[in-house]
């Protein structure tokens, strides 16, 4: 048993989740693979979205996977960093937007 919560080698075992629930695992991977196919968005655009969301979700496996995926697609580090900033901007914006709720409450209680 690993003494850390995250082991990079576990990423390779992701597919094994199907072993304990074949039907749901297979459904998930079918869905997952379909999502990343070329569609109205290119696979390249989807890869950058996935990279940004990997950061906002703070998933180390996803960050490894979509950084590598981006490199394989020829995506530059500048493009990757811009995508991460988009995620970070939404994340911080989402926190800050709740400031309005705080202001509303202050105004109601102490206005």
């Amino acid at each position: 048993m690993s003494k850390t919560y995250y082991d990079p080698a576990d990423l390779r075992k992701f597919g094994n989740i199907t072993e304990w629930s074949e039907e749901l695992g297979a459904k998930f991977f079918d869905y997952y693979n379909s999502v990343f196919q070329e569609g109205a968005l290119t696979a390249r655009e989807k890869s950058l979205i996935a990279l940004a969301v990997s950061h906002t979700e703070q998933c180390p496996y996803c960050i490894d996977a979509y950084t590598k995926d981006g490199l394989q697609r020829g995506i530059t580090k500048e493009e990757m960093m811009e995508a991460v900033h988009v995620g970070a901007a939404i994340k911080s914006g989402a926190a800050l937007a709740h400031g309005v709720q705080m202001m509303n409450k202050v105004n109601k209680l102490d206005g």
């Binding site: 696979a43 490199l71 394989q72």
Partner: protein, 352 residues
């Protein structure tokens, strides 16, 4: 640290092909964590791997090069002195005149640095081979005044130029191939375009080879080609015909890089995970013979660098016999996973 010498010059243990083969057979492959290539292709009845009809003669005219690319599988560089002699070239010409292969593929090092390169091209072009490829690293065209007329020379002999380009950005290209390589490559491509190479509908073929700049596999060849074409046209008004996406095989300087950067195991896992049985039937060793600067025969350029000679009574150009040679088992090791990953990989790009 940028390395500016070959593994041979640095006296690295990886300059020894036996050491490379040891690494490729031990560790994760010996422990059974990953299956050996032999066992993997046996599952689909492809072991022993056998040649099909010979289509490509690939001749390596020497390991000398003006560049020292970080991932070079040849371990080429200015310090390599192995150069094909005119006598061996004459033996090659005899083979070229009589071969059933439709493609002649000259490679190196920088093949243009062989002092008899132009003579050899002139003679070989008389044999009427359908597709005559020279793998030019582009910067050689700009390296010295005596090479500036190479585009015209290629045109005169209807040579199909195939050139490496790891990325459409300066940073990624120079990281892999050396400081200043990107700018010189762009100028060389513009020179080639100026006389018709790579232009739409032109019979002067100009193709680019993309191989990843680090420890990851190449993306989809068609998508990469689209991105390369768009960027090179918009940024530099450069055109070319096809992009070949090639996987870096874990040998020589790329193996050295993988081990030094602690990426070796992950890379081998990635290659094995991406194993595509469909690619096995079309791997290039099934339709290619590779000839070294000193006339030895190999199943491919990678086996040449690992000194894995053909498993045949015919081992040298001096005794060349295409029928006997085609009746052989192809020599394999774990590096072969590089040619069967994803859409497969060969000197002509994807195979599946």
């Amino acid at each position: 640290m940028k390395k500016t010498q070959s593994l041979h010059k640095r006296e690295s243990e990886l300059a020894n092909s036996n050491r490379q083969l040891e690494i490729l057979s031990n560790g994760i492959f010996k422990s059974g964590e990953l299956p050996k290539f032999k066992d993997k292709i046996a599952e689909i009845g492809q072991f022993p791997l056998r040649p099909k009809k010979l289509e490509i003669l690939q001749i390596n005219v020497g390991y000398m090069c003006n560049q020292v690319c970080e991932h070079c599988h040849v371990d080429a560089g200015p310090d390599r002195k192995e150069i094909m002699t005119k006598d061996t070239m004459k033996q090659c010409l005899e083979v070229i005149k009589n071969t059933g292969a439709h493609t002649l593929d000259l490679t190196g090092g920088a093949p243009e640095m062989n002092p008899n390169f132009r003579w050899f091209v002139e003679e070989a072009s008389k044999a009427g081979i359908k597709d005559f490829i020279v793998r030019s690293n582009l910067t050689i065209i700009r390296a010295n005044k005596k090479y500036h007329d190479l585009p015209e020379f290629f045109k005169k002999h209807n040579v199909h130029v195939v050139s490496s380009m790891p990325h459409w950005t300066r940073g990624k290209t120079d990281k892999q191939r050396g400081e200043g390589v990107f700018d010189q490559s762009i100028k060389a491509l513009q020179d080639l375009n100026a006389i018709g190479y790579g232009m739409p509908n032109s019979s002067l073929k100009l193709d680019l080879v993309y191989n990843p700049s680090g420890a990851f596999l190449p993306g989809n060849q068609a998508s990469m080609e689209k991105d390369f074409k768009k960027a090179l046209l918009e940024d530099f008004n450069i055109q070319f015909h096809n992009l070949f996406a090639i996987t870096n095989l874990p040998i020589s300087r790329f193996l050295d890089y993988l081990i030094a950067s602690e990426n070796y195991e992950d890379y081998m896992f990635a290659l094995v995970e991406a194993y595509n049985p469909v690619a096995v039937a079309n791997v290039m060793c099934t339709n290619t013979i590779s000839i070294s600067w000193d006339g030895w025969l190999y199943d491919c350029d990678f086996n040449q660098m690992l000194d894995l000679k053909v498993d045949s009574k015919i081992k040298h150009i001096s005794e060349y016999n295409e029928d006997l040679l085609n009746d052989r088992n192809i020599v394999i090791s774990q590096h072969c996973y590089g040619c069967t990953a994803g859409a497969g990989s060969s000197c002509q790009g994807s195979v599946a």
